[in-house]
Symmetry: C2
Subunit: 336 residues, 2 copies
């Protein structure tokens, strides 16, 4: 807990190298238009003094911060506790690091926090924002817009329809769901049920839509609502079994839900995949590989989503980027 020693300044480096501050600054920022010999001398001095530029001073004049805010609404939720989010964060971190940007994490849980975040963004501390897990009617986008901070959303915001200039990165949830259901049909199954995610999230709605795209005239009783948790998967599976004992396949909105469903199926003596085939979504490894039997599922490249969000944002600091939908792939294991 020592007090930080005073760091050497540009001035000090300049003195040591026998040049002006301006020259040192040039070298530190790439060294264009400086004689090779001087560059070398300055580099030397920087090295010897252990000089590191003072970011505050630099920001003050450049108005850039080389920092990006990652805003996560309601970390209470699964969204945050999930390995899912951790992976996206990793992708983001990697990309930001590669471009020498810092990651400022803003977790919000409620009204008051929104104004805090708004103030922070308005304060111009960061060059952009990456925003996750918005609700319907979340005041955050409004705040962000007012703050005038370039933003990329994680997952398609439900209010983005028709609005211009909303940039997001999402998986092809609908297409992935279609693939899953088609795979089930390809196996000869005919009574394919679906356990949805929470229908106030676009990813869940999109997966349901994908299911319906393929199961055009499906019995509505084949659809039960879940919320992406294992518990909801159990509940929904029981419901489905009671309503439609004849079902021969289940497409669950994510792997956790599928895991719950598997448990209930086993409880009821249904063999998987012989009696009932099951497909999940996410390919969350610790889950999908550990289930009994291992889960056939739709994989999305989560880390890549994060990386891409950061890339779009950074690029967008120059030219306006547009949204990206990442493809999914079906991963076959034993459950279907």
């Amino acid at each position: 807990m020592t007090d930080t020693a005073p760091r050497p300044t540009l001035e000090a480096v300049a003195a040591r190298a026998g040049v002006s501050r301006a020259t040192v600054s040039r070298v530190v920022n790439g060294g264009d238009g400086v004689r090779e010999a001087l560059v070398e001398r300055v580099r030397q001095a920087v090295e010897e003094l252990g000089y590191v530029p003072n970011q505050a001073a630099r920001s003050l004049v450049t108005k850039r911060h080389d920092a990006v805010a990652v805003i996560v609404a309601e970390p209470e939720s699964r969204v945050f506790a999930d390995p899912f989010f951790a992976r996206q964060l990793r992708g983001i971190s990697k990309e930001l690091t590669a471009h020498d940007n810092q990651l400022v994490l803003l977790l919000t849980e409620g009204r008051d926090d929104h104004t805090r975040v708004g103030r922070y963004l308005a304060g111009g501390h960061v060059d952009g924002a990456l925003v996750f897990s918005l609700h319907l009617n979340d005041p955050l986008p409004e705040l962000i817009q007012r703050a005038g901070v370039p933003t990329v959303f994680g997952g398609r915001p439900d209010w983005s329809r028709g609005r211009d200039g909303v940039v997001y990165v999402d998986s092809d949830n609908r297409g992935g769901a279609r693939d899953a259901v088609r795979h089930l049909l390809g196996l000869g199954r005919t009574r394919v049920a679906h356990i949805t995610g929470p229908l106030d999230q676009t990813s869940a709605v999109d997966r349901l839509d994908g299911y319906r795209d393929v199961m055009v005239d499906a019995d509505p009783r084949l659809v039960a609502e879940g919320d992406f948790t294992a518990g909801s998967g159990e509940r929904a599976m029981r419901e489905l079994l009671a309503r439609c004992p004849g079902l021969d396949a289940v497409f669950a909105a994510n792997d956790l839900t599928a895991a719950g469903a598997l448990r209930v199926l086993r409880e009821h003596g249904r063999r998987v995949p012989d009696d009932v085939a099951v497909v999940g979504f996410d390919d969350m490894l610790p889950v999908a590989e550990q289930t009994e039997p291992p889960l056939t599922t739709v994989r999305q490249d989560i880390e890549e989503m994060g990386r891409l969000m950061a890339r779009l944002l950074l690029r967008g600091l120059d030219r306006a980027p547009s949204s990206v939908i990442l493809p999914t792939t079906l991963v076959r294991r034993a459950s279907a």
Copy 2:
């Protein structure tokens, strides 16, 4: 993706309120020693202009940043993917927010990243650092020390023994383990096995030590090594069952491991808790409550650990704090 409009400065507010910049500055920073009437007028102007202080300018002169780095070594690891870490992060975030500090997240994965982090810390961008999941011989502590940044560690670093001034927050792993084993003995069990965590982490070693504190003369074959994953729990349980078929209880180093063990016990037709009682560690809710049967386990208050780390760090900016060991509590469910 609009360009951010130029923000109003202190100067502008001063002009509008008809006072000097100094007075505005005083008001913005608490308003002590300024006539009430003026305070009001300045507040008014601030409001009208939507003034937000420029943090870079402020840092430049105060040398404070109101920002704390959270450094996570090797996010590949469980450490990062676990809900565990997410919860600590939440605790940290809450505490920092309450003190108007920002959270800068630094994820590192290997040698090159270390120098990057070192440079960042040396650059004096943050007032302190919170550091997680160090390895043996990790170069990070060295770098941090050299950077002279106040630091609090999450979990006792293995190299902290004997060193002065190393501040950390940890759970009472050893005490919790003792409680768990004593509970099993209290149930009348006599052949209590232990599945360890990865023994290069102090938390795992401490839990093993706690087990040994109580099972002083235990058959060494009753201990099998795991790594905190469910898979390792399965493996270790099989091993134990083969070596000591007569065991009547298992203390697993964490809940995930316990979940794996439960699966194998069921596979082998051992009833839990009738034939074999099982206790876990962590009380990770999505896991501990979902197992079959629900898990008796040692709870640690993870979010509180995070909060405390931040609190110690912030406080330490004034006076040197010392490490804290948080108590654990045994949570009884059905498995023991």
